[in-house]
Symmetry: C2
Subunit: 218 residues, 2 copies
DNA sequence: TTTTGAATTAACCAAATGGTTAATATTAAA
DNA sequence: TTTAATATTAACCATTTGGTTAATTCAAAA
């Protein structure tokens, strides 16, 4: 039998297991391999055999630890996006003396986080398209409150409550779109030069801040 | 034998075929059914049988007209995005007396086009991630020139050539992101109320224009 | 009316794929 | 050292799936 530790542990390994093998444990190896494959191929494009190969284990082990492909994918998704949400949550707590400073801090830190996990936005969008309900689970699991973003624009909220969602979504748009549409944009506007695109991304923080602050300036 | 008319016709039906059946022709039925299924399920998630069912024809017909799934997908993609590119190309020709007016016209018309094909951005992004090379084919087929967008910001180019790509990509970001990430945003910021989100989208044109014009204002 | 090529269908096929099983190895506790 | 639970593997299985085929229908030209 199988249902003793693994399923629904979502990458958080409770050390209730007697032996957690020498160098690295199998469950974690599977999760990481699965993440790579799912991100590269998507849920439908991914093959359980490929995940097993990537993790250097027998395919039966994947089912031993996660039962089904669906299950494994959900574990990977919750793990990956959960960690991401936590990081975002952290930077929302950074203090700034005024709205301008808060926004600057947020844009810098947020784009930094995305830059080190550039696949996450697309991964989330794909999954939410496929299965919107998973987001509810995730939101309640992660403690991330949508209202927290609104706090960034406190002054603005008071002045013009109606526009606040337009504004928040614009911030995300400006930050995320260059990552989501990278392959497309890199070909069209950068002759498919990857280095140039990286350069573009690193310069973008300043640009986004400039645009937002000028827009918000009275 | 089979290779007489169909393959690579990409939805453009050349009337070289003797009988083009009464009400609607099969090739077009397949293309439309395939588009629906591919958009809903993705290339890997789509099933040839489902496409056949959706088109109310025998599965063998799909292979008869398009040979392989890959082929059919490419036909659908080229057809769909090709038509889209043509529409965008058209609105780029609209005259405006100055940059401000050009941008306003573009944003209005572009978001209108997207609103009536809201699935296209995500469809393109997915496909380019999977197979970046197809974009080269598409660009040369469609006559859409990336530089054409730059023309929108002619004044700006002269003043600050470096930022022009940041600007163009920001315009697309602000217009497209709310469509790409709709299911996510609708849940988080609109309590999953579809009507409210539609309202948000229709109001967004004004917002985007306001933001861009204020930013570009000297 | 006959003929000829295209259109259509039901049945079929081989490969891929998610998943299982039964046997074996490993580990740590008793 | 024995034991009992967990971890691991190779072989296997049923189903799905993209794709094929051979027979049939259909439509128009001769």
């Amino acid at each position: 039998m199988v249902n003793s530790k693994k399923v629904f542990s979502f990458g958080i390994v409770f050390n209730q297991s007697k032996k957690m093998n020498k160098d690295c444990n199998t469950e974690e190896k599977i999760l990481q391999a699965a993440r790579r494959v799912f991100i590269a191929k998507g849920l439908d494009g991914a093959r359980m055999q490929e995940i097993a190969d990537e993790a250097c284990i027998n395919k039966a082990m994947v089912h031993y630890y996660f039962e089904s492909k669906e299950n494994l994918f959900e574990a990977v998704f919750m793990d990956t996006v959960g960690v991401f949400f936590k990081k975002v949550n952290e930077i929302l707590l950074y203090e700034g003396t005024n709205m301008q400073e808060k926004i600057s801090l947020f844009v810098d830190n947020y784009m930094e986080i995305i830059a080190s996990n550039p696949f996450i936005p697309q991964f989330m969008i794909n999954e939410i398209n496929r299965n919107p309900k998973i987001l509810y689970k995730l939101l309640s699991n992660s403690g991330l409150k949508p209202e927290a973003f609104m706090q960034l624009f406190k002054n603005r909220v008071l002045k013009n409550g109606k526009d606040i969602r337009q504004l928040v979504i614009s911030v995300f748009a400006l930050c995320l779109f260059p990552f989501i549409a990278r392959p497309l944009l890199q070909i069209i506007y950068f002759e498919d030069n990857s280095n140039e695109y990286d350069q573009f991304l690193s310069e973008r923080k300043e640009y986004v801040k400039k645009m937002l602050l000028k827009f918000l300036d009275e």
